[in-house]
């Protein structure tokens, strides 16, 4: 059975290596040619695809949890959802979580993922105390914060080795609920102002209506929140809906997108409203629908996510949103977020500024549109998120990541470039 990525594009045949011990992986690594680690297949594009994959998800033991310090030691295949199932009841939560909990710890490190609290807590690597990594020759090393291998591996897309275990620092919570404030904005200016106004709250994100035109460009629902303090920790994950087959590709036409945006836009009646919501629906709204990626049809989809420096964010976003609105290829999801300071890792995506993420069904003319958007991103000094990407050009990518040469040199010196490669790393010469 071949493994695919979340975008279901491209579809490739691959050989899948499984392992249950370091020794077994070392042996299999030795006989394999080139490969890349694949966790739960939630990266959207080709970053975890290759002819040979190391499937790390079955390597999923919990090793230790110190309830005094909140340090959790797990194997890299453990899903974030499994961590939450284990620790929420005991009053702990992930310091950093993305918009899905169905990713592995190894994947979270390799993508150096971030979440709604990036402006406060930074990337996932902030909560990684140390991890173990199998290098190209099969040697297992323990890597601590600040080391070169740490900087290269966090955000390094699995291109430095296979992450085996990690010690994560968790945070204390006293409720499974979030006190949420929803702010309705009419345009991009108001949206930006709302982000600034609410940035003292740990979590914030905006759903943006991509089909809005002219003076309404950037109209959004901004949701900001923080954990409640009511002592309710009786966490019981709900069962999931399933989308059992690929939707026919006409299902996602402009009309359905409009309907979806409408629904979200009218959710809050006044300008500002307050809700108490469960963390699952606050952080992971789409996880309740298993296989939601099938809604885009069998040709698959891609998520276009870029970030612009703060000073050029407003102009850049206005231009990009206008282009998207004109194209009529508006996406189901458009998520806007204000980010905090960038970290030292070589390839981590976040920089201080605004990021926008949109889904596009794969269709004729799409990549041309995205190339046009790329040009604006580059002009504004922004960059593209590798975890979502399936098509960016080498030139565009390189202009966004100033530490790419350091990363390439490090890979070469350690012969990592001879063993660990994905379709993406080949495409971009990572």
């Amino acid at each position: 059975m071949s493994l695919q990525s979340w975008g279901m594009y491209p579809t490739v045949e691959n050989e899948v290596i499984k392992f249950s011990s370091e020794a077994e992986l070392k042996e299999k690594l030795g006989t394999a040619d080139e490969l890349i680690a694949n966790g739960n297949g939630r990266s959207y594009g080709d970053s975890a695809l290759a002819d040979t994959l190391v499937h790390t998800k079955p390597y999923d033991y919990f090793l230790d949890f110190d309830e005094v310090t909140g340090i959790l030691d797990v194997q890299a295949g453990v899903l974030l959802s499994e961590i939450l199932e284990g620790v929420v009841k005991r009053g702990w939560f992930l310091k950093v979580t993305p918009g899905t909990k169905l990713i592995t710890v190894g994947g979270a490190i390799a993508s150096d993922i971030h979440g709604k609290n990036h402006h406060i807590e930074g990337c996932f690597s902030e909560c990684v105390e140390e991890f173990t990594l199998m290098l190209a020759d099969g040697e297992v090393v323990s890597v601590k914060k600040g080391e070169e291998l740490f900087l290269a591996t966090c955000g390094g897309m699995g291109l430095t080795g296979v992450i085996l275990t990690a010690k994560l620092s968790l945070k204390k919570i006293n409720s499974q609920f979030i006190n949420q404030t929803t702010i309705k904005t009419k345009n991009l200016k108001e949206t930006f102002a709302a982000f600034e106004e609410y940035k003292h709250l740990p979590y914030s994100v905006a759903w943006i209506d991509c089909l809005a035109k002219d003076e309404n460009i950037g109209k959004s629902l901004l949701m900001a929140g923080e954990f409640a303090d009511d002592g309710d920790l009786r966490y019981k994950p709900k069962s999931k809906l399933n989308i059992p087959f690929n939707f026919p590709s006409f299902a996602l036409n402009t009309l359905s997108v409009k309907a979806f945006n409408w629904l979200y836009y009218w959710k809050s009646q006044d300008g500002v409203s307050k809700q108490r919501v469960h963390f699952d629906s606050f952080f992971y709204p789409l996880d309740s629908i298993r296989n939601w990626n099938r809604i885009y049809g069998k040709n698959g989809f891609t998520q276009y996510q870029f970030i612009l420096p703060k000073e050029s964010s407003f102009d850049g976003l206005e231009r990009i949103l206008e282009k998207i609105s004109q194209s009529g290829k508006g996406s189901f999801l458009a998520v806007l977020k204000l980010y905090g300071k960038k970290n030292e890792n070589y390839l981590s995506f976040p920089i201080e500024g605004y990021s926008l993420a949109l889904d596009f069904k794969i269709e004729k003319g799409l990549f041309e549109l995205l190339d046009e958007l790329d040009a604006i991103v580059v002009e504004c000094g922004g960059r593209i998120y590798l975890t979502k990407d399936v098509r960016v050009s080498k030139e565009t990518f390189e202009q966004g990541y100033e530490k790419i040469e350091t990363f390439r040199k490090f890979r070469k010196e350690n012969k990592m470039d001879e063993k660990f490669n994905s379709i993406q790393s080949k495409r971009l010469g990572l």
């Binding site: 059975m1 033991y61 919990f62 090793l63 230790d64 949890f65 199932e85 284990g86 005991r90």
Partner: protein, 243 residues
């Protein structure tokens, strides 16, 4: 919280089942041969779910010591789940009697020996549940795996009788019939994706069905209908088929 005894605890289905029961607050006895191999898994369960986990050395084919082992458990289990199974290649079992005998002993004889003891205990206590993992292969003998299939057929019939007997005592008996499952046992086989379940899906199905007091569980659910078709094909046609 009450204990659940999982027999044949090293298999992928058993391990995922253990996780589901632990997640729902049950303490566990994990029984298998060379059970010390499960030390790391024991830690995994304890760290994940803060439940008690005990390892129990048990050879399902060593029937003569089943009673001693069961009575040695420091607290009687509330439920017993028999997952132990042995599947060899059909042609190997046809040629080597030891392979056939082992298939019968692991899948049937040993399970009967152990469950007889459990059933007597549960019947007396008038409580508890029993889950037996059989197979769709037991629903009809086919030339490609009828030795394994016939042992599972016997096990299914045993569970059916046991359910009938224990009904009055309020003890539930669930027969689980998995179709294709993506496990170590089937590694290397080219299984059709849509008909193949992941071990964690099977485990969740088992838990849900057991808690609901169901009698027979096909997993994935579609296998109920596939097997309905397969069992209704007239024998004079069936004998000519290669499926």
């Amino acid at each position: 919280m009450s204990y659940v005894l999982i027999v044949g605890a090293k298999s992928d289905i058993a391990k995922e089942t253990a996780r589901v029961y632990a997640k729902n607050g049950y303490s566990l006895y994990l029984a298998a041969r060379n059970v010390t191999d499960l030390e790391e898994f024991k830690t995994d369960l304890e760290v994940r779910s803060s439940v008690k986990v005990e390892l129990v050395e048990l050879d399902i084919t060593a029937c003569e010591i089943h009673k001693e082992i069961y009575e040695g458990l420091k607290e009687k289990p509330f439920g017993v789940i028999v997952v132990s199974g042995y599947m060899t290649e059909q042609h190997k079992a046809e040629k080597e009697w030891s392979e056939s005998l082992n298939t019968i002993n692991v899948n049937y004889t040993g399970a009967v020996s152990l469950l007889n003891i459990v059933a007597n205990d549960f019947e007396e206590e008038k409580r508890g549940f029993i889950v037996g993992v059989s197979s769709v292969a037991g629903d009809r003998g086919r030339k490609t795996n009828y030795i394994y299939g016939s042992a599972k057929a016997a096990f299914s019939a045993y569970l059916s009788g046991l359910r009938n007997r224990l009904f009055e005592s309020g003890v539930s008996v669930l027969t689980v019939k998995p179709g294709f499952v993506n496990t170590k046992m089937t590694e290397g086989l080219d299984l059709p994706e849509k008909l193949t379940a992941e071990p964690n899906e099977v485990a969740q199905d088992i838990f849900t069905a057991q808690q609901a007091g169901k009698n027979t569980l096909y997993t994935k659910w579609i296998w109920r209908y596939i097997m309905l078709i397969i069992t209704t094909i007239p024998e004079f046609i069936f004998k000519k088929l290669s499926i």
